[in-house]
Symmetry: C2
């Protein structure tokens, strides 16, 4: 697929980024540094948290940002941009800094998981590709984690590629699913590219090709005696699939000293069938044969099947994971929060008739607040330059109830944003994918309240503010709300 | 982004395709030719039809299918495949034929929009990538078409890249949206790659950067006097945005002899605001200034805004289009339907306890049946080898009411599947993207019943069968249903 192999990700941008860039260039504003934040406004599926994913790909993208001759030629062909700007594009490289949460951090609405501090054009041009990457991977990591939680320790594998929204969605979706807790993927390129364990045995076509189900099973077992997993639902699970699987175990595998490793079903009532299959396998002495199920699974169907006692060892989850079917939009946005004026950052804020759409101005840091048990009780927004001293009781503001006097005492505060790119180059070593997966699991096991991890009506994690940050925000809000026609 | 530029789409496959391929290779079955069909089981969003899209990318993918040295090395590293098979992969190219509907064909459930006739391994290896491409593009084309229908002739543009499921979903999604009737896209790479018109003007950040809304508008108008479209909802649409836009028209553009081309709003009540804005613009003599709206639009919100008389000229549609949010899974499947035996194709069929999952066996053709007015009254499945003679009354079978005597009289029948690849090489000239868009529009305007184009409870298009095909299918179904344990 020529387009895939030769394409240039720099051009994955909204056209308005280029019209604005040229506008800034013509007005000679472009050397001025600005601050943009990436943040979400809600968690998917009404959940209590999201998982921040996609940072490694964001960094690779920003490092490689450049316009090829063909790209510049394309812009020239539109007859909207002067030659001076086109020449500027030819030599363009990203010269900004990126601050970000570590990949895999549990995040909450309105927290800047990425902050870009860069010259105006540099910061504007990366909007779309950063959002698409973070939105996609965070969505799939979060959805997968819900499914993994529902499976209560049983293995969950990504089987979604064929229903993914094109190739990237399959491959980066598999990466995100692994971050969210999947044990592996069926997608070969994701295995090759990211080292994710791959699995897969047979499709219905294998059985249909041979026509005879027993012949198909026998051929497969002869070829893969150490790893025989048979698909039972091509014709009739209980009257044909299970008997033929048992016969294969007895007549093909046992004479070789091998065991039938597993069976899979991909249709029908998975709770009922798995219970019947388990009995039939056990009666035949195949207690160690695993039962793997697939077919339109998600956290709700898995919970329901397990509540009915389905003796299932492993779930293959496809379309509802890889598209996050029940809530396929992760709405992270990219908003300007400060502009350099005379060497320091002046905060900027978007006000809106919708309260949730009012932004948090300024260059910020997010602290996660832990109690003595190490549990995360809240997060807190601060000015990035502020010193936050937790050695004595720390007074903070709950912005929804600012009149209440509150303080953290004996707690610890961990800053979540770290500098990851300096002047367009990465300046930290990134964790392995396995380490990211383990970091997610550690936070959910040890730090994040179980009450936030409920599917229905979860506890809302508080996002508090330091008194200094709260005051600055309120003053700016006052100023903008008093803004009258023509005044600014 | 290194992975994007260097990646190999051949490896976008499910691992079971490789375990099966090796199994066939070890059993020396691989030269045998088989038939696989791609078909859907339902239309998205409960609609009456789907749009077939993605064929051009499928053909490019199949033509370029090959394993690099690194790919073969990856399979070697898994220690599951013998050297003989790995050597076979090194030299592998696709040697089959593809039959397909023309891209943009209105299609219905259970119709083979693509049929692969190829040696066993060749046919098996392309399953996942073909499905992911067709599922994604058909989904977005169909969804966009619903949105375009709701807009009743007003322009619809794709603004979705940032919420797409990664880069491909943005770019191929824009292509599919154009097929479905969008007039353009905001995604630059889609414009560059496919020649789709791109549009875009300013984000809220432009206004927030300058702080003063009027200054921001003035700077933009000075830079783009022929194409000034101003975003009005950064602070307050009616008290600040509209007055500043009018002032820009009067004080900046009119002295240059230019007109304000348009305004955009991206939040708030779009019906109420657009009516108020229209009045204010008209009172200021800006009757020709267009109103463009965006913000979580889809076919339902657009219908509702227009029903309330919103005087809107153009819709920018993002997340709900690019993810097909209300139904993000297009469930096309890839099923084996025949196996070569002694030089001819023997039909294969998957039976299932779920009636909808029973497949249509054999190598087939789909005919679209037109009445004297040129309207498509039904489709009909036939054996690919059958001659269908419509010169006299043609008796057909409705498989859901096979006891009824029915015939087509004075109708015409057009075969929908055409040979598009022969022995792995394309053998037709593919239409331009614009031609595909026009083909979709022609069918919906002239051929497809309006009753099938309703959003709610649309008329169901019949899929009839020739008597010969129906008999063959029933005999095979009988045989498989009588199949008892151990018998096959």
């Amino acid at each position: 697929m020529a387009q895939h192999a030769e394409r240039n990700i720099t051009m994955v941008m909204d056209f308005y980024e280029m019209t604005m860039a040229n506008g800034y260039f013509q007005n000679e504003e472009h050397p001025k540094r600005v601050v943009f934040d990436v943040f979400t406004r809600k968690n998917p599926d009404g959940g209590g948290y999201s998982i921040f994913a996609g940072l490694e790909q964001v960094i690779e993208y920003v490092e490689n940002l450049h316009f090829s001759k063909e790209d510049v030629e394309y812009f020239r062909s539109l007859n909207q941009f002067p030659e001076s700007f086109l020449t500027y594009l030819e030599n363009f490289r990203f010269h900004g800094d990126l601050y970000a949460f570590p990949e895999g951090t549990i995040m909450y609405p309105n927290e800047p998981c990425i902050t870009v501090v860069a010259p105006l054009i540099d910061a504007q041009l990366v909007e779309t590709a950063i959002l698409a990457q973070v939105n996609h991977q965070s969505l799939i990591a979060t959805k997968t984690n819900r499914i993994v939680q529902a499976a209560q320790g049983r293995a969950v594998s990504d089987f979604g590629a064929r229903r993914a929204h094109n190739m990237d969605a399959a491959v980066y979706g598999a990466r995100a699913a692994y971050i969210g807790g999947a044990v592996g993927t069926a997608t070969v390129l994701a295995g090759q590219q990211f080292g994710i364990p791959v699995s897969g045995t047979m499709a219905h076509s294998w059985v249909m090709y041979y026509g005879s189900e027993y012949t198909a099973f026998r051929k497969y077992a002869e070829c893969y005696p150490d790893n025989t997993v048979l698909l039972l639902d091509t014709y009739d699970v209980l009257h044909s699939g299970v008997p033929n699987a048992i016969r294969t175990a007895k007549e093909v595998l046992e004479p070789m000293g091998k065991r039938l490793k597993g069976i899979r079903i991909d249709s029908g009532d998975l709770a009922y069938l798995s219970k019947r299959i388990r009995c039939m396998l056990d009666e035949a002495g195949l207690e160690d044969c695993k039962i793997i199920v697939s077919n339109s699974l998600d956290e709700y169907t898995i919970s329901s099947i397990l509540a009915q006692g389905g003796p299932i060892d492993s779930f293959g989850v496809g379309e509802r994971l890889i598209t996050s079917m029940s809530d396929p939009v992760f709405g992270a946005v990219y908003k300007i929060s400060a502009v350099e004026q005379n060497g320091k950052f002046e905060p900027r804020m978007k006000i809106s008739e919708v309260v949730e759409k009012i932004t948090n101005p300024g260059r910020k840091q997010v602290y996660r607040i832990y109690d003595q048990k190490g549990e995360a009780v809240a997060d807190m927004l601060a000015d990035a330059e502020e010193t936050v001293d937790f050695s004595k009781p720390y007074k903070f503001i709950d912005p929804e109830q600012p009149w209440k006097e509150r303080s953290f005492e004996g707690f610890t505060a961990k800053p979540l944003q770290k500098l990851v790119m300096k002047d367009g180059k990465r300046c930290v070593e990134l964790p392995s994918l396995k380490e990211i997966q383990q970091y997610v699991k550690y936070q959910l096991d040890k730090e994040i309240w179980p009450e936030e991890q409920r599917f229905d009506n979860p506890h809302r994690h508080y996002l508090d503010m330091t008194p200094g940050y709260y005051d600055m925000r309120m003053k700016l809000l006052d100023k903008l709300s008093n803004h009258k026609r023509g005044k600014i």
